[in-house]
């Protein structure tokens, strides 16, 4: 007889997401395993398996003797329905066993809109949502990823957070757990010891107090916890663990290709960008190591495409050396090499043309703002001339597709800035008319605007978000200035970005809101098919929490911020200085043209910042 799970599988969409058994999956004999980790990605398989961080830590944990790390993803709605109808608890892919039987439940969180999935996955697993309702060492829940840099909205649910690069700290955490389990420690004893590991933040060891106006009055460390917790970094990426033997999904995922990380950190300093500040300092990998890892990864995976990724790949010093080696290898092996995140200002025609020998992709720019004035405010060091010159080169080389990404609602933005976007787009069209070598194909310009979300640990962390109504007015204003049939304009609905803004700078009072929203049915909020603001709206009302407090209010420079406990290496003084410069429309040159003194280099002990 076929068991329940295998009766359900043929009835759901893309069942291969739930079975495991892919090439490269790691299985262990349970009799050799002392610590079982369920590594949960709070979104679907296709998204989670595209995440390089998860793949690295999967390799790190499974590299530990006595530890077996398995993967867990959020089920799609049809599967969730079947699981709930049949009382089938959430399982991990490798062993197909229930997540609630695991010692440690780890989450990697890269996006605020996956918070509902975290709670929903715990619920599907049959694990109590609240940290306080999980009294023992069993089912310890911890989390890392970019969102851990303001973990407060999740403080009631997650036992502790792991901050920064996970390669070393994860080993320390799991080893400590191994010892705690063997010696029969209490959960409190384990958390007290864990809090001593640099980079571990235990929210239960901090009490938050509020003023009457709702702003934070005090953060009081308890149990001898440190006043601030500093994120961890890996200094030497050449010798850090990198999984060249990766899992190859049997079903198509979002980034269905090999992925190579060229370096960490960013020299740019775009004032809105959280990754640009929170991933500092810059640490590079040598092109020799990258090339070796590329070849090994491709041989093991059989992938026909590889991408060189980073926050700004043109800023990788070894790019020429690496591509000089990789391009011929990929051409011979018929492997498509893609190098995204190339900047317009040093987008070399040479590299463009070399990459073209394999396959031709589109041209994408993210000027973010329509006028030079506003680009100076946000410190996006990209000029109109650079965009137009690159377009001219590309059009004469046969390209005919351009994507342009902007944000609306940036600090100091006026209608002139909004209409500056239309001006820039028309200039691109004019350049095409002058330079296009393949006119027959016609030009397609895809313009997209996003709703600016102020993020913690950036110079804009105090900024107001404009209201959804005002955002939509600016979208419509812009749309009314697009006449050409070559232009396709998309603007995101404001609801999702509004919610993202709430949680990005949220505090502990949002925990009940997430819980209520999940009870109302919120899940898979990153997906248009599922996102429904009404569920969140009701949750805010139920909990008596006002979204505007976190969005349009803005935060005072003197205000205690919920994420002040977390130190990502960049000093508050620097962020304030950058904010002042933004309002003075003063550009801060990239780190390679002079250190701006962000403070992140103090995290380095062995090497210097490689900006």
């Amino acid at each position: 007889m076929t068991d329940l799970k295998h009766r359900i599988l043929p009835t759901v969409q893309k069942p291969a997401r739930y079975t495991g058994g892919e090439w490269g999956e790691i299985k262990k004999d349970l009799k050799d395993v002392r610590v079982r980790v369920a590594f949960c990605f709070p979104d679907t398989y296709e998204i989670g398996m595209s995440n390089l961080g998860m793949r690295i830590l999967y390799g790190v944990m499974n590299g530990m003797e006595g530890v077996w790390c398995e993967r867990v993803f959020a089920p799609w709605g049809d599967m969730e329905e079947a699981m709930r109808a049949n009382h089938l608890p959430l399982w991990a892919l490798e062993s197909q066993q229930a997540v609630r039987d695991f010692d440690m439940i780890a989450f990697t969180i890269g996006y605020e809109m996956s918070y509902s999935n975290i709670l929903n996955m715990l619920d599907l697993a049959g694990i109590p949502l609240h940290s306080k309702d999980r009294p023992g060492l069993h089912n310890i829940v911890f989390a890392g990823g970019v969102c851990a840099f303001n973990p407060e909205p999740l403080a009631a649910f997650v036992d502790f957070f792991s901050l920064g690069d996970g390669e070393d700290i994860t080993v320390e955490i799991v080893s400590l757990y191994d010892r705690a389990k063997a010696e029969g420690w209490s959960k409190e004893a384990f958390l007290r010891e864990a809090a001593k590991i640099p980079g571990v933040y235990v929210p239960g060891f901090y009490r938050h107090e509020y003023h009457e106006d709702g702003t934070l009055a005090a953060i009081i460390p308890l149990e001898g916890a440190p006043q601030t917790v500093t994120k961890r970094i890996v200094e030497d990426l050449d010798n850090a663990f990198f999984p060249t033997e990766m899992i190859v999904p049997s079903t198509q995922i979002v980034h269905d290709r090999a992925n190579l990380e060229a370096f960490r950190g960013c020299i740019r300093g775009c004032r809105f960008c959280q990754a640009g500040f929170s991933c500092r300092p810059v640490r590079r990998k040598s092109p020799q190591v990258l090339y070796r890892q590329a070849v090994r990864t491709l041989e093991h995976s059989g992938d026909q495409e590889i991408t060189v990724s980073s926050l700004s790949t043109s800023d990788y010093r070894g790019l020429k050396e690496l591509t000089d080696q990789l391009i011929p290898y990929c051409a011979e092996q018929r492997i498509n090499l893609s190098v995204p995140s190339l900047r317009a200002d040093n987008f070399s025609r040479e590299l463009m043309e070399k990459l073209q020998t394999v396959r031709k992709s589109g041209l994408t720019f993210a000027p973010e703002a329509g006028t030079q004035r506003l680009r100076d405010v946000i410190n996006k060091n990209l000029t109109e001339d650079e965009i137009l010159n690159t377009c001219a080169q590309a059009f004469s080389g046969g390209w005919s597709n351009v994507k342009l990404y902007f944000m609306l609602g940036l600090p100091t933005e006026t209608d002139d800035d909004v209409l500056g976007i239309a001006d820039l787009v028309y200039k691109v069209i004019r350049v095409w008319k002058e330079h296009a070598s393949q006119r027959k194909k016609g030009l397609r310009i895809h313009v997209a605007t996003a709703y600016f979300v102020p993020k913690p640990h950036t110079p804009f962390q105090w900024e107001k978000q404009i209201t959804p109504q005002e955002y939509l007015r600016r979208c419509r204003l812009l749309k009314s200035h697009f006449y050409s049939r070559s232009i396709e304009y998309d603007y995101h609905s404001p609801d999702l970005s509004r919610l993202e803004a709430v949680f990005a700078r949220g505090d502990r009072r949002l925990g009940p809101v997430i819980e209520a929203a999940v009870r109302n049915g919120a899940r898979l909020d990153g997906w248009d098919e599922y996102f429904n603001y009404a569920k969140w709206y009701d949750a805010f009302r139920e909990c008596g929490v006002d979204e505007d407090f976190y969005t349009v209010r803005g935060y005072d420079e003197g205000e205690l911020l919920p994420w002040d406990t977390i130190d990502v290496g960049v000093s508050k003084e620097f962020l304030l200085r950058e904010r002042r410069r933004a309002y003075q429309q003063m550009v801060t040159p990239d780190c390679r043209h002079g250190c701006a003194g962000c403070g992140a280099n103090a995290l380095l002990k062995e090497v210097a910042c490689d900006a």
Binding site: M1, T2, R7, L9, P10, K14, P15, A16, Y18, T19, G20, G21, E22, W23, E25, V248, S250, T251, Q252, D256, E299, H300, S301, G302, D303, Q304, R334, R359
Partner: protein
Amino acid sequence: MPRALFEKTGNAVYISHLDLMRLLQRGFKRAGLPLTHSQGFNPRPSVSIALPLSLGVESRCELLDFQLEGTPVPNREIRDRLNEALPEGVRILEVYDNGRKLKELTLLESLVILEYDAGVPEDAAEKIRRLFSGGEVMAEKKGKKGPVQQNLIPMIRRLEIEACRDDTLVLSVLANCQDPALNPGQISSAISLYLPELRPDFVRYLRREIYDTNVDQFR
């Protein structure tokens, strides 16, 4: 063009046809067996599967045609190297040259495994045998332009009750697999439609063997 006979079992039955093509292309690459590529703007490795298999169906008799470039490799070695490079559930049984023309592939033997949680109803075997010995059993099939009604009887060469255990009834069905093709799912939906008391709680399917029109094994 060499041909591989392979099976798809276990968790691999949940891999869709298109995903399986990608999986095999990667498998060849991992095995160090470079495939020739199609011409054109977006060159694709040359692999093709004879009869696409529905999701969830197990098979012991899938055919894969492919073309390698470079130094010739003995067929046994191709088989072994591929098996070293493929995930669990996809197994190459044999690699050979001079496979027959696919248009001569006409018959497919499938098992339709009907599961009854409360035990196989009485007389089930007899009722099913009687149903399919008639002149007309209509069942729906998903066509390109929506569902179409098909009479199953002319497509069925042989239908037998292969086993009847406490809670499982196994039918073996030899039927057309090309122009027009019988989908084994139609057998169980016809049973549920004509004999509602025999509607199973779950059905599994397995492709067992392929034949030409004279019921000679097709390779």
